[in-house]
Amino acid sequence: MGAIAFPMPDAGVLARREAIIAGLSQLVAPNALITGEDERRPYETDALSAYRRMPLAVVLPSTTQEVAAVLRYCRQEGVPVVPRGSGTSLSGGAIPQEDAVVVGVSKMSRILSIDYANRVARVEAGVTNLAVTGAVSAEGFFYAPDPSSQLACSIGGNIGMNSGGPHCLKYGVTTNNVLGVTLVTLEGEIVEIGGSHLDSAGYDLLGLIIGSEGQLGIVTEASVRILRAAEGARPVMFGFPTSEQAGAAVAAIIGAGIIPVAMEFMDKQAIDICEAFAKAGYPMDCGALLIIEVEGSDEEMDAGLARIVAIAREHGVTTVKESRSAMEAAAIWKGRKSAFGATGRVADYICMDGTIPTGQLPHVLRRMDEIVKSYGLRVANVFHAGDGNLHPLVLYNCNDPVEAQKAEDAGMDILKLCVEVGGCLTGEHGVGIEKRDLMNVQFNPEDLAQQMRVRAVFDPAWLLNPAKVFPLEGRVVA
């Protein structure tokens, strides 16, 4: 692979590398500045590892003030900056370029305060998603957005990508669960947006920052909503003969007024891969599987499940497997949550992330299969069925450049299909570099120019994460 273009590095910046490093060394502690080639190597790429660029230098500040000093300096010197959390972006959002300084928040990983009465926690941006839940779980609370990468990914990265997860069907994504942030602008200004209250004053800048992929500033702290966990939760597995039947069951459940906490869909290919890895007891004779989770007391879950099972039966369900213990429940989720890792063991894959109107599901599944077959490849599908967020995994062999290109092309065709049926290019992984050149498929030039004018308010010289989100051609600067 390697078809996605990067901007030409600024020769002037490259030539001044030593001076720039010397300047940075005045601003942060010695162990916060990484310049050696081997030490920089881990920052070359993120989870879109087919692409990599060696950054000019890496800075890992420990305080908001240090971040501000570094950004002020980089802007003054005209040096591009790439914000980084844990580097698990699947769209290349945190991939640097040769003339850029990576500013990582991984050292800023403290939980600053927890206020149970007001159901809010103040955390530094580098804390992992799971650590937030870990810090409050003893009191029965949790942080709702639960990306499958939650063990590794940071709150800052979650804010960058507006990340979601299986439980977002009921609890919303990152943007619905953050009350305030401390943002450092490229000017080095420290801006407090929102706080520990709802509906912050003025324009919804919080809503704008979340999902802006590190293009508007670096988030150093966040106030996140913490919620009281339900008394219990029970995932149930439903096996259907065909994807169509499973899709129809999803629509019927929602149509009946039931919003489970999660509704995850896996097709035959994904069932095979995940079962081989996780031994979750998935039914092997099914064409599609739904994992539906309900919450509440035992009686509440029984009652809710009875309704769901009745609807599933109307749609030809052949296997219903309830988890009878915490271990069984964990196994059911383990299969789903390890889908990406398990797939990686059987083949290389590109994970796509489009969203479609759920009514288009049967059509899209059929078309996707045709698209991928036409390239001579295979696809495994796992996705958040309740909200139509697809994750087709296009399987290929990365040692075969021709096949790799085919996989990338097939992926792009799938995303175009998502837009064609009324959906969008990315539901939770972001545009990054990966889908940058497809933005024209979803937006016309006026739409894009308006977004870029807003971007330019924060970064007129286009130095923050410059190669991401917007096509390199036709950029609007201030």
Binding site: N118, Y203, L208, R455
Partner: protein, 395 residues
């Protein structure tokens, strides 16, 4: 006053283009009931969404509805009700407060981020708004978001539009995510608690696993002689019965609550949603948003400075509705001083024009925030034609 009433998006673009060169200010309106909130706007002409009506997409099984901006809110709600669905954020109806008779539109609900008591659990209008089409200040049609809930494609201009009060663009179509209407609604009611006790009770309930959908405290004298502390549960019938019992037990220290259903509590929640207790009084009305446990602290501090102030607490204490005498600065200085050590913000929702022209209606922003705000305004509306000064001077 010229009123432009386009019936197509192209016509709306043409109206904006026709005033852009001369930078002639344009008021935007939906049902034309506008007047109350925000700073008074001087505009030569008005661009109305009254000609842009109709539901353009409704897929109950996908929980999504789209309508042109001028569509009456009532029509949207009736359409949803016919399929057993609701707008999750329970939009407030300001007509009681302003004493006007217009027809609220879905576009203005989006533009002003109008929400109600369910906000604490189900989010604000902005949380359900998933797509917009708008005319920007260059007369261009812009779309952002779409019809699917999960979407991180590019910058989220949808959120920016929500709560921009018409200052960034003229919405022509809005798309919301909807939810099933609950099968049953039960209100638990405690009588005679102080505000501190009431908010502590609500806080404990909201930190329980039993999912109250709304949580309010009304001091004595607002809705009857006794103070009322209220929790609303919504769900299928069985979970509600169970949760009501568990909550009553958990909160046993505060006494045994009444369990209410039907028209009485529905009307009470409507009054809370619409701040109707302050409807006919001529007082100035403020809306404070702050951390829930700071609610009683804020009202106590304000009462010291403004003894005539009356208030009640929604969102478990996080939303304070406040009525004060409408003279002077309508309490602006005292209220904002009380909030300073507590955090949060205050909006002057109702006051005479002269007061709103002089006082800050919306919470003043820090220097850096104001600069970003001004930049965003310019990025959408370089000539400054839309609702000039509605939110802040120059915005």
């Amino acid at each position: 006053m010229i009123v432009h009433t386009p019936t197509t998006e192209a016509q709306a673009c043409a109206v904006v283009k026709s005033v852009v060169d001369s930078a002639t200010p344009l008021a935007l309106c939906g049902g034309g009931t506008r007047a109350g909130l925000g700073r008074p706007v001087q505009a030569a002409s008005t661009l109305s969404s009254a000609g842009l009506t109709g539901i353009t997409l409704y897929e109950p099984a996908e929980m999504v509805i789209a309508a042109r901006a001028g569509t009456p809110l009532a029509l949207v709600q009736e359409t949803l009700a016919a399929h057993g669905q609701i707008l999750p954020f329970e939009p407030m109806d300001h007509r009681a407060l302003y004493g006007s008779e217009g027809e609220p539109t879905i576009g203005a609900v989006a533009a002003c981020n109008i929400s109600g008591p369910r906000r604490i659990n189900a989010g604000a209008a902005r949380d359900s708004l998933i797509g917009v089409r708008l005319v920007n200040g260059r007369g261009e049609m812009i779309k952002s978001g779409g019809r699917v809930m999960k979407n991180v494609t590019g910058l989220d201009l949808v959120k920016l539009m929500s709560g921009s009060h018409g200052t960034l663009g003229f919405l022509t179509e809005v798309t919301f995510r909807v939810l099933p209407r609950p099968e049953r609604i039960v209100t638990l009611q405690w009588r005679g608690l102080s505000s501190d006790e009431g908010v502590a009770l609500l806080s404990k309930a909201l930190g329980s696993p039993f999912e109250p959908m709304a949580a309010a405290h009304l001091p004595a004298g607002l809705a009857g002689e006794a103070a009322l502390t209220l929790l609303r549960l919504e769900n299928f019938a069985d979970p509600i019965a169970y949760r009501a019992g568990e909550l009553a037990a958990l909160l046993g220290a505060y006494g045994v609550p009444d369990r209410l259903e039907g028209a009485g509590p529905d009307a009470l929640w409507r009054d809370i949603r619409d701040a109707a207790f302050f409807a006919d009084t001529g007082e100035a009305v403020w809306r404070l948003s702050l951390a829930p446990t700071n609610g009683p602290k804020a009202t106590a501090a304000i009462a010291r400075a403004l003894p005539a102030a009356r208030s009640f607490h929604d969102w478990g204490g996080g939303l304070v509705w406040l009525a004060v005498p409408a003279d002077g600065d309508a309490g602006a200085a005292a209220i904002r001083a009380a909030l300073r050590p507590l955090g949060g913000h205050a909006t002057l929702v109702r006051a005479p024009d002269a007061v709103r022209a002089a006082a800050d209606v919306f919470q003043p922003l820090s220097g850096p925030l104001m600069r970003l705000t001004a930049g965003i305004k310019t990025s959408f509306d370089p000539a400054g034609i839309f609702e000039p000064g509605r939110m802040y001077a120059g915005i």
